[in-house]
């Protein structure tokens, strides 16, 4: 039976194609000159360049973290190219008609049509290709509501006060090795500002695509929800199938001011490498949000891709009564490794956090949950509930849980529940005896296991995530 399940897990990576697009790509290497050139390409103001250089100098003094339960060869940061953009983007196309059709085709192939009439109604998309944003849709409609949704490189020019105030305010430059690197070399990403009391009229979404060889993608996302506002945001990501590893080191910062609510969903499907661990993306990401009084941040992630994942979307619950949530599905198969989880830092009174983590390990993969719940002395009456469930498929994979709990307030309550289960032969046989083939059986069992998390995703994306898991589990049984 195990063999049958293993077979069901083998599949093609559907987003693994390469687009034939002429690019301007920097030669590999990292130094102050490269950073100056990135900044010049973006025509950045002096303060932005200074900010980058300061981060770079910090990074030089820092060490790569080694505590995660993942193993990979040492990364040669001098062999990576830190900037690559389609040549056609140099002329700064003003409308979709001016964008290279080959680029649009790439997104269409990935199921993200960028022509507004073809798009999912109610979802605005920022499409980032290697180091630049190709297009951001529905901007006019959003502007009517006062919502700013644009590439961060543009925000640096147009909204410098907001960027200066909030960039690095949640994830400081020296926060960690990869965050510092990102601060120095980030190229593009999305910027969102929701004005006071505004409910964003559409779902916002950014789709990241790595195409060029030997490049890293260092995107930067900053979302500011002003007092009493409300926004739901989703990011998706894919990359071509290549034998070399590629680095993706992103930073996402969320600011939820008083009474604001941010829902941030991720469907991560970077190329995972082959069955034996050749190729694939190193996904080293820092995501963190800060909640002011009565604010709420909810992270939902479905992680199925990447060779190595190192990612802990976190919440700083600074304001009283603020709420942090983390819902995660992480599926690893083949030789994938994931070390993912969250940090809930309770500072304010009566702050609440919920963590639901579902790890699914198959093949010879390793899947770790790592989470920190900290109740600071001021967090009177704070509560956390954590549930970590692991599902094992086959007998060569690993599931690990590393929960850290620090409670410095006697009135705070922390609950932790954990389970580990297997897709059993009995379950598989029941499904088959009722006429279902093994592929359908595995995907049904896994989807059932993830149900609590999927129901947190926006409707359109819940379907997408379910399908993604199905594709991930699809195979050649027959």
């Amino acid at each position: 039976m195990t063999e049958q399940i293993e077979k069901a897990l083998q599949r093609e990576y559907e987003a693994g194609f390469v687009s034939d697009i002429e690019s301007d790509t920097f030669e590999p290497g990292l130094n102050e000159d490269i950073i100056r050139r990135i900044s010049a390409m973006k025509e950045e103001p002096e303060w932005m360049l200074e900010w980058r250089l300061k981060a770079y100098r910090s990074w030089l003094e820092m060490d790569e973290p080694e505590w995660a339960h993942v193993h990979y060869p040492e990364i040669d940061f001098q062999s990576i190219s830190y900037y690559s953009a389609p040549k056609s983007m140099k002329d700064k196309p003003k409308s979709l008609d001016e964008v290279d059709p080959e680029l649009l085709k790439t997104y269409e192939k990935l199921g993200i049509p960028l022509h507004e009439q073809m798009m999912l109604a109610g979802v605005a998309v920022d499409a980032v290709f290697d180091s630049v944003s190709v297009v951001t849709t529905f901007r006019d409609k959003l502007e009517e509501a006062g919502v700013i949704f644009c590439p961060i490189s543009e925000a640096v020019h147009k909204y410098p006060e907001l960027v200066k105030k909030y960039l690095g305010s949640v994830v400081p430059q020296r926060d960690n090795y990869y965050a510092a690197l990102n601060c120095a070399v980030f190229t593009d990403g999305s910027f969102v500002y929701i004005p006071k009391g505004t409910k964003c009229p559409m779902e916002l979404s950014t789709y990241f695509r790595i195409n060029e060889q030997n490049t890293g993608q260092f995107e930067r996302t900053l979302i500011i929800a002003d007092e009493g506002s409300h926004v739901s945001y989703l990011e998706g990501c894919t990359a071509p199938q290549r034998d070399e590893n590629q680095l993706h080191a992103a930073v996402v910062e969320l600011v939820a001011l008083d009474d604001a609510e941010i829902k941030y969903s991720t469907v991560q499907n970077w190329y995972p490498g082959d069955e034996n661990g050749k190729g694939g993306i190193y996904n080293f990401v820092t995501k963190r949000g800060i909640c002011h009084t009565n604010a709420k941040i909810s992270w939902t992630q479905v992680e199925t891709g990447s060779a190595v994942t190192w990612k802990y979307p976190s919440c700083i619950l600074k304001g009283d009564n603020s709420i942090g949530e983390f819902y995660s599905v992480a599926l690893t198969r083949g030789a994938q490794q994931a070390d993912t989880g969250t940090k809930m830092i309770h500072l304010g009174k009566n702050t609440k956090s919920t963590i639901i983590s579902k790890g699914i390990s198959a093949g010879k993969s390793n899947n770790s949950y790592r989470g920190l719940v900290r109740m600071n002395p001021g967090a009177a009456g704070a509560r956390n509930f954590t549930q970590c469930d692991s599902l094992l498929i086959g007998d060569k994979c690993g599931a690990h849980t590393f929960p850290y709990v620090e409670s410095r307030n006697p009135t705070a309550i922390v609950e932790h529940e954990a389970t580990t289960s297997k897709v059993s032969d009995d379950q598989m046989f029941l499904c088959q005896q009722r006429g279902l083939d093994p592929e359908k059986a595995v995907s049904m069992i896994v989807n059932g296991f993830c149900k609590e998390v999927f129901k947190e995703l926006p409707m359109e994306f819940a379907v997408e995530a379910g399908k993604l898991l199905e594709i991930s589990l699809e195979g050649s049984v027959g």
């Binding site: 039976m1 049958q4 059993s424 032969d425 009995d426 379950q427 046989f429 029941l430 499904c431 088959q432 005896q433 009722r434 006429g435 279902l436 083939d437 093994p438 359908k440 049904m444 069992i445 989807n447 059932g448 296991f449 993830c450 149900k451 609590e452």
Partner: protein, 260 residues
């Protein structure tokens, strides 16, 4: 309908079935009784194609189709149904979703059109009423948190919806109180028809008071050692299986069944 000839099968290299013969005609109900370890459950698993059960010799055909050549799911689609002794839970997968996928798969194999969600829901509600399961059980995870009796009734519910040709009930009476037993039996009896057959595997005669078999077989040490009509069940109940050991293997009875 079902024709089993000289079936030898093993689990983990241990011989369990040793030359089993059984003929079942359309519309018949056959009870299989026998001591623990005789191979009763193994017979069900071998016929339905569970992994880990290997057939060394012999044949098993369902309406002329060689069952042993088919994958487990193909056998199910061909009309073979096993009601489990210990139904397993599938957390998070709703009963309704599971039943729909299952019925869709079986209907597709039969060349029938998929049912609309509305028609299916109606059918499923009627079936759950018939086995006395409240409709909200359809929304719950498959067997998730069900009591023993509810699980068994859920098996019968699946049988009602799948409309198989041949149903194997593997100790469907174990762990049931008398009310649940009656519900299970009524479910089975409602499905008796000239073109559907049953194999009722049980330890006790009790279930057979509710589901009247046409034939009763005693399975011991991997073979049918005695066959007869309903009265055999009573005889076993009063005398126990040890009584059989003093009797010579009753070849004649097996042949009678095979012929008639």
């Amino acid at each position: 309908m079902l024709s089993i000839k000289n079936l030898h099968a093993s689990v983990e290299e241990k011989n369990i079935l040793k030359g089993l013969e059984l003929e079942i005609k359309p519309g018949e109900v056959h009870a299989i009784m026998g001591p623990n370890g005789a191979g009763k459950s193994t017979l069900g698993y071998v016929l339905t194609g569970r992994d880990g059960y290997s057939v060394e010799q012999g044949s098993a055909e369902l309406d002329g189709v060689d069952l042993l050549e088919l994958e487990a799911e193909e056998r199910a689609r061909a009309g073979l149904f096993l009601a489990f002794q210990y139904p397993v839970e599938i957390p998070g997968v709703s009963n309704l979703e599971f039943l729909k996928a299952s019925v869709d798969a079986v209907r597709e194999a039969r060349g029938e059109e998929a049912l609309s969600s509305k028609d299916f829901l109606k059918m499923a509600r009627e079936a759950s009423k018939q086995v006395n399961l409240p409709a909200d059980f359809l929304k719950r995870g498959v067997n998730e948190g069900f009591s023993g009796g509810e699980k068994k009734r859920n098996e019968i519910l699946q049988m009602l919806l799948l409309k198989p040709k041949l149903c194997i009930l593997d100790e469907s009476d174990s762990g049931l109180d008398i009310d649940a037993l009656q519900v299970v039996a009524e479910g089975v009896n409602s499905q008796r028809s000239p073109d559907r057959s049953f194999i009722v595997v049980t330890h006790y005669q009790r279930l057979l008071d509710y589901i009247k078999p046409d034939f009763v077989h005693v399975l011991a040490d991997g073979k049918i050692v005695k066959s007869g009509d309903y009265s055999l069940a009573h005889e076993l109940e009063s005398q126990g299986y040890a009584w059989l050991k003093d009797q010579p293997a009753d070849e004649a009875a097996t042949n009678d069944v095979a012929e008639g």
